[in-house]
């Protein structure tokens, strides 16, 4: 079938992109002058430590051998050991990843629920004052830096009113039986609300505008006119036919949004001291913790590329014109 061969070619492309980005990253880290690795290895260590590190990263070998080692380790999921945490990078990164995913999904779900409903509403109110006032406001939220929104929210609701904690993902001294228990605790939620709101404020504009445009377009389609001729209820027309069609690209945008947010949350995570992947990357880069920076970057890339692929997949799953191509 055409559908599955398309899928395979997208998958191959996804793997190709991942490999290329990993290679670019390898080259950046090994070839750039003043690489943090070189800076890190040189001064303070004992010769034995230096040697062991050199061996760990294969610096005693040719660049090509180093590259093979790098790719080989990557394929085995071995990202090395963090200089700072003295623990395997994979492990360190995963905790941060959970926090980032919680923040990303939380804000995206809020943003897309709100955006889709408001977008449909704006489409309905086309040409009214609601639209004339609403659209510029939406554009302003799209233009505001999300970390600045975060700062304002922090100043008002945390420091001013004292309703929410000023940062972090959990209160000090709390302990949980498991990672799941931690993420689904009330304490975590209280910490999550402000950063998720800041992000959601910024993110809702895209689904809103998309939904509005799509609704306006779909409402012009012949099948919507036909649905009215069939005497179907307004509800059936708007929800079952118009919204179902208009939601196609929004679903894709949602998947793309996950991929972009995991890396794009960096600044909001910094503002709220949220122990996520982006902030870990910033700290690792600042502290020249090279394996950790590399690991965090690779994980962010993997999520981005995977979600690009998922978005594609989702689109073909939701749109029968692609999912059921052929067979005439």
């Amino acid at each position: 079938m055409q559908g599955s061969s398309r899928l395979v070619s997208r998958l191959v492309l996804t793997l190709f992109v991942l490999w290329t980005v990993a290679t670019i990253l390898f080259l950046i880290f090994r070839l750039m002058p003043g690489s943090p690795l070189a800076a890190f290895v040189s001064p303070t260590f004992t010769p034995e430590q230096q040697d062991s590190l050199r061996r760990q990263f294969g610096l005693d070998r040719t660049l090509f051998d180093q590259y093979l080692l790098f790719i080989g380790n990557l394929l085995q999921g071995n990202l090395g050991e963090s200089f700072f945490y003295k623990r395997p990078v994979g492990e360190v990164v995963m905790t941060a990843f959970a926090n980032t995913i919680a923040l990303t999904l939380g804000s995206l779900i809020v943003a897309y629920t709100f955006g889709v409903l408001m977008g449909a509403m704006f489409a309905w109110k086309r040409g009214t004052r609601v639209e004339a006032v609403g659209i510029p406001i939406v554009l302003v939220t799209r233009a505001a830096p999300e970390f600045w929104l975060g700062m304002v929210l922090l100043a008002i609701f945390s420091f001013g009113l004292g309703w929410f904690p000023g940062g972090g993902a959990n209160s000090a001294g709390q302990s949980f039986s498991s990672e799941w228990a931690r993420i689904f605790s009330l304490d975590f939620l209280r910490h999550l609300i402000l950063p998720a709101t800041a992000l959601a404020l910024y993110l809702q504009g895209l689904p809103l505008l998309l939904m509005r445009t799509n609704m306006l377009e779909v409402m012009q389609e012949d099948f919507v006119t036909m649905a009215r001729m069939k005497g179907l209820s307004n509800w059936a027309i708007v929800i079952r036919h118009a919204a179902r069609n208009a939601l196609l690209p929004v679903a894709t945008a949602f998947a793309l949004g996950i991929g972009q947010s995991v890396g794009g949350n960096v600044v909001v995570e910094t503002v709220f001291s949220w122990p996520g992947l982006g902030r870990m990357l910033v700290d690792a880069v600042a502290a020249s913790d090279y394996p950790l920076a590399q690991g965090a970057f690779l994980l962010i890339t993997t999520v981005l590329v995977t979600m690009n692929f998922v978005a594609d997949l989702l689109y073909s799953l939701l749109d029968p014109r692609i999912a059921h191509a052929g067979h005439r």
Binding site: E221, D222, F223, T225, M226, A227, R228, M229, K230, G231, L232, S233, A236, R240, H241, R244, N245, L248, L318, D319, P320, R321, H324, G326, H327, R328
Partner: protein, 335 residues
């Protein structure tokens, strides 16, 4: 006995330049169990007329006058709710482009079931059975109910649209250019199926088309529209065989296959009048080869011309001679 009687219908559109009078005082009857072909150039108001009858019009359109008597009830006097409940059960619609009229994200069977369940009050199983029955009727494999619209060919989609229109056994079916999008061979096949079903079920049909050969082939009566007006109507054989309005004469001339490939194909030159400021006199005057100065002073009314035929022309008494002149290609060429 008429199923539908259109009386002095006026439909206006709001446009950027002003109000366009898309349908101007149109009147005709749809007798029980007959096919009435409504024919005219694009922009003559025939689609507007169709949409006005089923009551689904663009926001800019407004019915400015007239009556639509459907089995003794004026449809224009119904509340939106009452009208919605009559749609599809009493009056169904076959659209020009079934591709865009079927929702691309649902299987055709689902869309059939939607109408049967939601408007026909059937349960799901009965709906499924009925859908298969309908597909059988229109010459489609019921197995294809599971397919999506894009998996159909153009002819199949049009057949599916017919099945959909017949789903609730409506009293009146409006078919808006039902075969225009198809190539000629498929056109004939779909039209044959449609005609056969119409005869078998005794359907009353309004068949809207710009193609006079489709009218000649499939309709019992014909209504010729020009610039929003009905300018001639009557039994198909009468009107096409003995046209009384010069525009009808020209139309017949422009479609030579009516006469078995006789004369040369001559289009009517010029374009219809501006409906925002329609002329005071006969709206065809500017293009009419037989125009006289008096034609421009007042709109000619529809008058009886032959057995059951009506025509809106000042010179119907001279129709005999005009028809001869109209048969010559030179008549239609501008000097």
């Amino acid at each position: 006995m008429s199923v539908l009687s259109v009386q002095d219908l006026e439909v206006y559109y709001k446009t950027d330049r002003g109000v366009a009078q898309a349908v101007r005082g149109a009147s005709f009857e749809v007798p029980e169990g007959q096919v009435v072909g409504v024919v005219g150039e694009s922009g003559c108001g025939k689609t507007t007329l169709a949409r006005a009858i089923i009551g689904v019009m663009p926001k800019t359109a407004r019915i400015a006058g007239g009556r639509l008597m459907f089995q003794g009830v004026d449809l224009l006097g119904l509340s939106p709710r009452e009208m919605a409940s009559r749609r599809w059960r009493d009056i169904a619609f076959i659209p020009q482009s079934a591709m865009n009229s079927l929702d691309p994200v649902y299987r055709v069977g689902t869309q059939m079931a939607e109408v049967l369940v939601e408007r026909g009050g059937m349960d799901k199983r009965a709906a499924r059975r009925r859908a298969a029955e309908l597909f059988d009727m229109v010459g489609l494999d019921p197995g294809r109910l599971r397919d999506f619209p894009h998996q159909y060919s153009g002819g199949m989609r049009q057949r599916a649209a017919i099945a959909l229109a017949l789903a609730l056994e409506p009293r009146l079916v409006i078919a808006d250019e039902p075969v225009t999008a198809l190539d000629v061979i498929i056109q004939r096949q779909v039209l044959d199926t449609f005609k056969e079903l119409q005869g078998r079920l005794g359907l009353s049909v309004i068949l809207i088309t710009h193609d006079i050969s489709v009218v000649a082939y499939a309709s019992d009566r014909v209504v010729v529209m020009y610039a929003g007006e009905v300018i001639e109507s009557g039994a198909t054989a009468e009107v096409l065989g003995r046209p009384f309005h010069p525009y009808t004469m020209g139309l017949c001339k422009a479609f030579p296959e009516l006469h078995g490939g006789g004369g040369t194909l001559v289009p009517i030159e010029g374009s219809p009048p501006d409906l925002i400021a329609p002329p005071e006199g006969c709206s065809f005057a500017d293009r009419c080869p037989f125009v006289e100065p008096e034609c421009r002073t007042a709109r000619p009314p529809l008058v009886d011309v032959a057995s059951g035929s009506l025509a809106a022309c000042r010179r119907t008494s001279e129709a005999e001679e005009l028809r001869v002149l109209a048969g010559e290609a030179g008549t239609w060429l501008r000097s």
